[in-house]
Amino acid sequence: MAEIGLQEVTELAMLARLRLSTDETETMRRELQQILTAMDALAAVPTEGVAAMTHAVPMDLRLRPDAVMPSLTPAEALAAAPATAGDHFVVPAAIGPHE
């Protein structure tokens, strides 16, 4: 049976960028444990050679023609943004580069 500890809950919250209080972390641990226990039923199923299914209806990717359509204007693009400066979105300093 999968056991989930507080440390792991903290790591998951970090990965998911969810800030949890100490209380929330404990509650979350308990609830995840309960759910994961129900998931244990999966482990018992023999699935050797069974294909992993992403879509129930088999399909191939439809492609789109390489055609340019009008973009949103910068004003439209920024209309719903919580913070902007000129034509940019603004966030607290992003230190460090891309992955």
Binding site: L15, D66, A77, G86, D87, H88, E99
Partner: protein
């Protein structure tokens, strides 16, 4: 001490092992998954749409042109092309990554096990590729003190990531790999490969080991090498850094480092999430990308002969390695050369025998003129058939090389046919001894002293007589014939 000075000595004992991950922008006019333009240098956030902004409810649909360009690269690198490849999501948070994940390919990439035909100097070498996969670019953040600004114009631009096997063994080789890939993507019309515009970017995985050792050393990933000038510098710098560490008994850390061109040094990329977990999984919005017969046929139809085989052929034609490398440097130049060669038979020349002459005329005379006028080969006012015609006129003995230069200049300026210029100006060279002998006879009578000097061993006097005849014939005397006639005439009776 600079890297250049110490490196050769260090390399006697140490062997660098380098693998590259190169991102190349696919030259479609619209983005990978939506219809905004991919233009460079537009005002910030003017190339977005709900999908580029990662808005709720939007769905990606892949660009057919981008798929075809990527397949062309796969074919050109003899890669195994997967009939059904899969898009996957790679998760991380960054303010210019609108969905919180990048659409890329993970387990089932479009291409695997290819090779890139790399020209190491004038030597061809096949460098193995692990994979070529499709992905999308992120936006751009710029940093201003306590805040960062985000521009999403680049977000969603289609890319391929080309991943080599770790089998490059010097920074020079890495740089040559980059140049060959750059040449190929331009050749195929996949991308302009302009590094200044971010159309081509390079990350390098670098490790070193003692020569003779099989096991790979701990590698670092060097990021942000975004100019051709930096590739060699950055990698050499990292090689020296690692060797120094190991020689002083320290360890190389498995880390990602960022190249800072201004500081001429790399720095560890410090991130709060030391061990990120990208949580790749197949993108449920995108069924498998099918590369079927019709698409392959479309790609194959437009696939040109590649630079590698052309280089090989030019060498066989007796062209020097350096010239052959120059000739394949650009598809337009090579195509021009091929067209000129193809036109040779129609001017009575054997293509193979005179390829070298065509090459010389192209690389020195024509490129010289184009350079002077600031024109590219594609803009040349002098067509390839005209170049073949000039070579034909020379090799057929119709005009001398010296006259040919004048003919070229006029043809280049006016666009007239070289043969027409020769005919109109009566520039056909005089090869008939019967026309030259009377002139020679008169000279012999008029220049006794000079004959005397020649006969006393002053070989230079031959040139004096050649000059006189040339002057008398407006330079049209066939130099070869004239030389023979003069030598015979100057022999003491």
């Amino acid at each position: 001490m600079s890297t250049d000075a110490v490196l050769p000595q260090l390399l006697e004992e140490w062997e660098p092992v380098i693998g590259l991950e190169i991102h190349v922008q696919l030259g479609s006019v619209s983005k990978a998954f939506s219809s905004s333009a991919t233009t460079f240098g537009e005002p910030p956030n003017s190339l977005t749409d709900p999908l580029v902004l990662g808005m709720p409810g939007t769905l990606p649909v892949y660009n057919q042109r981008a798929a075809e360009l990527a397949v062309a690269l796969g074919v050109a690198t003899s890669s195994k092309i997967r009939a059904r490849s899969r898009f996957a999501r790679k998760h991380y948070f960054y303010p210019d990554l609108p969905k919180g994940y990048q659409i890329t390919q993970s387990d089932e990439p479009l291409c695997e096990e290819g090779t890139l035909d790399v020209l190491m100097g004038t030597q061809r070498m096949a460098i193995r590729l692990q994979r070529i996969h499709l992905e999308e670019d992120a936006g751009k953040s710029s940093h201003h003190g306590t805040v960062s600004h985000v521009d999403l114009n680049r977000a969603g631009v289609p890319l391929v990531e080309v991943v080599t096997a770790p089998e490059l063994h010097s920074a020079e080789e890495a740089a040559e790999f980059m140049r060959s890939l750059h040449r190929l993507v331009r050749w195929l019309g996949i991308s302009d490969g302009d590094m200044e515009k971010g159309q081509m970017r390079c990350d390098a995985n670098v490790s070193v080991r003692r020569r003779g050792e099989d096991r790979l050393g701990t590698r670092t990933e060097l990021k942000n090498i975004n100019s051709f000038r930096f590739v060699q510098n950055a990698i050499d710098n990292e090689i020296v850094r690692q060797i120094r560490l190991l020689e002083t008994g320290e360890r190389v850390l498995r880390e990602t480092r960022l190249w800072d061109a201004t500081a001429n040094a790399s720095f560890p990329m410090r991130s709060k999430e030391e061990a990120n977990d990208y949580r790749y999984f197949p993108d449920p919005d995108l069924p498998p990308l099918l590369i079927d017969g019709p698409m392959m046929a479309r790609v194959m139809q437009t696939l040109p002969t590649l630079p590698g085989p052309r280089f090989e052929r030019y060498r066989e034609w007796g062209i020097t390695g350096d010239d052959a490398r120059t000739l394949i440097g650009e598809r337009a130049l090579s195509d021009y050369f091929e067209a000129a060669i193809a036109a040779l038979p129609s001017v009575g020349c054997n293509a193979v025998a005179h390829a070298k002459a065509v090459g010389n005329w192209l690389l020195t005379t024509l490129l010289g003129a184009l350079n002077r006028d600031g024109k590219s080969i594609a803009e040349s006012p002098f067509p390839a058939t005209a170049l073949a015609a000039i070579v034909g006129l020379i090799e057929g003995g119709t005009i001398s090389g010296k006259i040919a230069k004048d003919v070229f200049d006029e043809a280049y300026q006016t666009g007239a046919e070289p043969a027409a210029i020769v005919a109109a100006k009566g520039l056909v060279q005089i090869s008939n001894p019967a026309e030259l002998l009377p002139i020679i006879s008169r000279l012999l009578v008029e220049n006794p002293k000079q004959i005397e000097a020649y006969r006393n061993g002053n070989e230079k006097m031959l040139g004096y007589f050649v000059g006189k005849v040339m002057k008398a014939t407006d330079g049209k005397a066939n130099p070869q014939v004239l030389n023979d006639l003069l030598r015979k005439a100057l022999v003491p009776a």
